[in-house]
Every structure is written in structure tokens, then in C-alpha cells.
Amino acid sequence: MIRFDGVTKRFEDGTVAVDDLSFEAPAGKITVLVGPSGCGKTTSLRMINRMIEPSEGSILIDGTDTGSLAPAELRRGIGYVIQHAGLFPHRTVLSNVMTVPSLLKWDKKRARDRALEVLELVGLGGDYAKRYPGQLSGGQQQRVGVARALAGDPSVMLMDEPFSAIDPVVREGLQDEFLKLQEALGTTIVMVTHDIDEAIKLGDRIAVLRQGGRLAQFSSPDDLLAHPADDFVASFVGRDRGYRALSFKTAEVPIHHEAPVRLGDRLGPGEEWRLVVDDAGAPLGWVHADEVTGPLSATDLQLGGTLATLGGSLRGYLDAALSSPSGRGVVVEGAELAGTVRPDEVLHVIQAAPRATGETILSPEEPA
């Protein structure tokens, strides 16, 4: 657990970057600091490992005041990941990852084994260890950055815009992997981002900061979307928050049986939209009878629709239903077709579901 206790940072020129910040980042959870530029989120993060010293107040990690430890010692116990990974270009991937274990004076074999283990964990096993950072893609470098932060087995990890410099497609994947990794390791994480979508996706707790380093709201993501504390938070969280809030709601939605066809089949008369699956039963796409002559081939497929996961969020169901060319949202279980949902029925379920009632953990009006 990381606790900010009335932390203020005033720079020498008199500007206040962080103003009387108090909150608790729970152990084993991801806490995201989010806000516009100039809100002091990075300054706040760097005060945790004392790359920046607080002017007032204290920061406690598991009850220990960080001000009571030597900075270098403190930092060796805290993983740190930054935007461009910040890898040491003159060292191999393995040597980069061994940095903290070496600083902690682990014996060489243990440090090496640990480094290889965490590299495997972030999906860079095998001969990546011998390469130099310059030989890796941006996404791979960021994985090494995460591995390096994990190598010393820290109980706390700080991440400063870890996924911002990575192209959107790779970013999605990395975020998903990161969530799984975090779930498995149970590390306490504080992350900084300017991207509210990323905050909502990754955070268990979100601290919204406003200009001048003041805490605007501290709550869970679903509560943030449902109950923004004020106009600033509401506008920062964005216009389509009603839709995004559905990410956090699950409910039973009627699943209709869908009789699929396969590539090579011929469509009979009177059929409009049919779903095509592969031999394993995984959906491939939709075909429309008017546009197909002869046996079905891969070029006939319309690929527009997204897939919802059975038992997943209402957002997934609604999106699948809305994006499907046939108006029937495809639901999968694992990779296999489970059935389809209808938009009106999904909306009906959403209407019937109770509004989110998560409680705001801390907002300026109602201090905890």
C-alpha cells in the first residue's frame, strides 16, 4: 500500500506542482493518476521513489516513510517503467534486465536466472536476451522495460506513460498482457497516463488531478464514469462515458441460436444474412445471399462486426450487435461461436439493469 499524506511540491520558482495530495493506492492493485498536462501527475509519481523530493507531507510505502530511506536503496525496491522504456542502449537485453538484481548484489547466476525468467514472462524468451535494445521494436523494448522493472522482485512498481509511445494496435495487446501479468503477480502499481481510456481500462483506482496538482476525484473506474465529482471531471472523462460505463456491467442477455454455414457451401433461396464459421466453429464473417453466387469463398465474407465474449460486459454485447452487418451480434465462447444477440434485446437488458452505485472513495466535497 502506498499512502500520500498531505503531499505538496513547490518548486524553487514558487510554482506549486502538487497541492496537498492525499490518497491511498491499495496493495496489489493498479492505481492510475490521470489528468491534463501540468496537473502534477508525473511529479507525484516521482515523489514516490524520491526522484523528486516532496516539499511538505509524507509518502508511506507499507507504513514506512520513504523519506527515512536512502534514495538509491529505496529505488532498488521499486520497479520503474517509463515512456520510451529508457533501456541502456549499450547493454544487451539480458544485462539490462539484470540491472537491479546486480545492484542488489544477488549472485550472478541467480540474477541471470531471474532475468531470463522475467523475460520469458513478458514474452521475450529465447535469443532476445543477447540482443541490444536498438535491435528491438518499440513494443519489444517496452516489454524489456517491464521485465527490467520486475527483475528485482519489487512489491511496488511505478509506470510513467508506459504505453503512450507505442502504436495503437500493439498497445491494446500489451495492455491486455500487462493486466494478466499484474493479476498473476499482485504487484502494487501506480501508473501515470494522460489517456482516460487507458486509465479506465487498467485502473482499479483512478485519481483524477486538475491543473495545479489538486486531486479532483479518487474512485473506481465505474464510479468515475457514473458519478463524476464536478464539471472538470465530467468533461475530462469525456462525452461517451455512458457507453464506456457499460464495460463494467455484466448481465444475462438472450442468446439466439445461429445456424452457421461453411466456406464452400451454397446458400439456398430466401436466405439473407448467414454467418460463416471455420472447421473449428470460429466465426469468420457474414455473407449476404444477394451478393453471393456459387459456393462460398473467403472473398464473399463481410468482416465488419466485432465479437462479444459470452458472459462478458454489456459494452461488448452492444458493440457486437451494433457493428454486425446483419444486425445480429456474434457471441463467442473461447474462439467458438456461441450464438447471436439482438440490439433491441441488449438495450432492453441495459435499461433494466440498475444504475452503477459504486461509491466515490474520496472527492473534494466529501473527504473520506
Binding site: 529505488r75 532498488r76 517509463i82 520510451h84 529508457g86 549499450h90
Partner: protein
């Protein structure tokens, strides 16, 4: 056996003297320039005075320095130490700025990452910043090496023998042979220094040449 009127043995011993008088100051000067360059970079108020001051050193004429140093150091005028000290000063003059530039060429995010991993400032310098500054420092060192090889020859005028002695010798005897030989030997030596520095740089920076196989 002799080349152009100069015994081969003498050419050899003059060359060794030249290597010693130009090369040793290069190493000592580098070792001195590293802390100076670091200080210039980490203590902002020192940057101006240090860079300007060391830069000015280079403008002192070498002959004047060779003559003045015995008075300052209390050495004999013929003592090679005078030349070693003078050449070290010139090396420091050229390299302090180079080291500061090299260290500041280290990307900020890399420096921050090193700090966040738990390196103390000194360890960070040795383990991260200096290795990354090698390409820039090496470029400066090549300039200093050539400059040293060239300036050292002036020491012949104060009687410290090295390849420059061939010039005074040829001048006194009104013979072209020793002068041409001295020029060829000096140039060859400068090229050798350069190749040596390039080689060491290459060994120290394997990451720069590693192919993009990803």
C-alpha cells in the same frame, strides 16, 4: 644502416620518445578531463568558467609553455616532464568540453531510468553515462591525438628529443633528408594513434555496430 642520412636506430628511438611524449599525456589528460567534464555538467555554475578556462589553455603557445613550465614546476629545462605536463594541459583543454558534450548526449530518459533503478550518481556515471559517451569522447580524443603528435615536435627547440629533433637536425645541417623523414614518421604516427583509438572505440561500443536483425 641509415635512411636519408639518419641511422635507423636513431629513427626508432626518436619515434619511441615521440610516442611516449604524445601518448602518455593523452591518457592522463583523458583521466583528468572526465571528472572536469562531469563537474562542468553537474554543477551548472562551473560550466562556463571550466569550458572557457580550459579552452583558453589551448591558446597558450607551446614554445612559451615549454620555457615557462620549468620555472613553475622547478624542473630542468631539458626535463621531458615539462613536455609531458604541457601536452597534458593541451589534452585537458581539448577534452573537457568533449567529455561534457559526450555526457550530455546521453538521452535524458536513459539517465532517469538509471537513477530510478537505484544507481548512485557516481555509479551511474561509470556504468551508464561514460559508456554511452564513448563515441563522442573518442571523436575528441582523435583530434587531441593528432594535435599532440604535431605539437610535441616543437619540444625539439628546447632540446627534448623526439621526431621533431629531425627537423632541427636537418635545418642545422641544411639537409632535406631528415626533415622529410620526420614529416613521414609524424604523419604515420598520427595515423597509427587514430587507428588505435578507432579500434578501442569499436571494442567498447559493440552496440553501435550490432545489426538490426529484428
Amino acid at each position: 644502416m641509415s635512411v636519408w642520412g639518419v641511422p635507423l636506430g636513431e629513427v626508432w628511438s626518436l619515434t619511441l620518445d615521440h610516442i611516449y611524449l604524445a601518448g602518455l599525456p593523452l591518457l592522463i589528460g583523458l583521466l583528468l578531463a572526465i571528472p572536469l567534464g562531469w563537474a562542468a555538467l553537474t554543477r551548472r555554475w562551473l560550466y562556463g568558467p571550466l569550458i572557457a578556462g580550459t579552452g583558453l589553455l589551448y591558446t597558450i603557445p607551446s614554445l612559451a609553455l615549454f620555457i615557462l613550465l620549468p620555472g613553475i614546476l622547478g624542473t630542468q629545462i631539458l626535463d621531458p616532464v615539462n613536455v609531458l605536463v604541457a601536452m597534458t594541459l593541451y589534452t585537458v583543454a581539448l577534452l573537457t568540453r568533449t567529455v561534457a558534450d559526450g555526457l550530455s548526449s546521453v538521452p535524458n530518459h536513459v539517465r532517469q531510468a538509471a537513477t530510478a533503478m537505484g544507481y548512485s550518481p557516481l555509479r551511474r556515471l561509470v556504468a551508464v553515462e561514460l559508456p554511452l559517451a564513448v563515441p563522442v569522447i573518442s571523436a575528441g580524443l582523435r583530434v587531441a591525438a593528432v594535435s599532440n603528435v604535431s605539437i610535441v615536435s616543437v619540444a625539439a627547440l628546447v632540446g627534448v628529443s623526439q621526431l621533431g629533433t629531425l627537423f632541427t637536425d636537418g635545418f642545422n645541417r641544411n639537409a632535406m633528408g631528415p626533415i622529410v623523414l620526420g614529416v613521414i614518421a609524424s604523419v604515420t604516427l598520427a595515423v597509427l594513434f587514430d587507428v588505435l583509438i578507432l579500434g578501442v572505440t569499436k571494442v567498447l561500443t559493440p552496440w553501435q555496430t550490432a545489426g538490426r536483425s529484428a
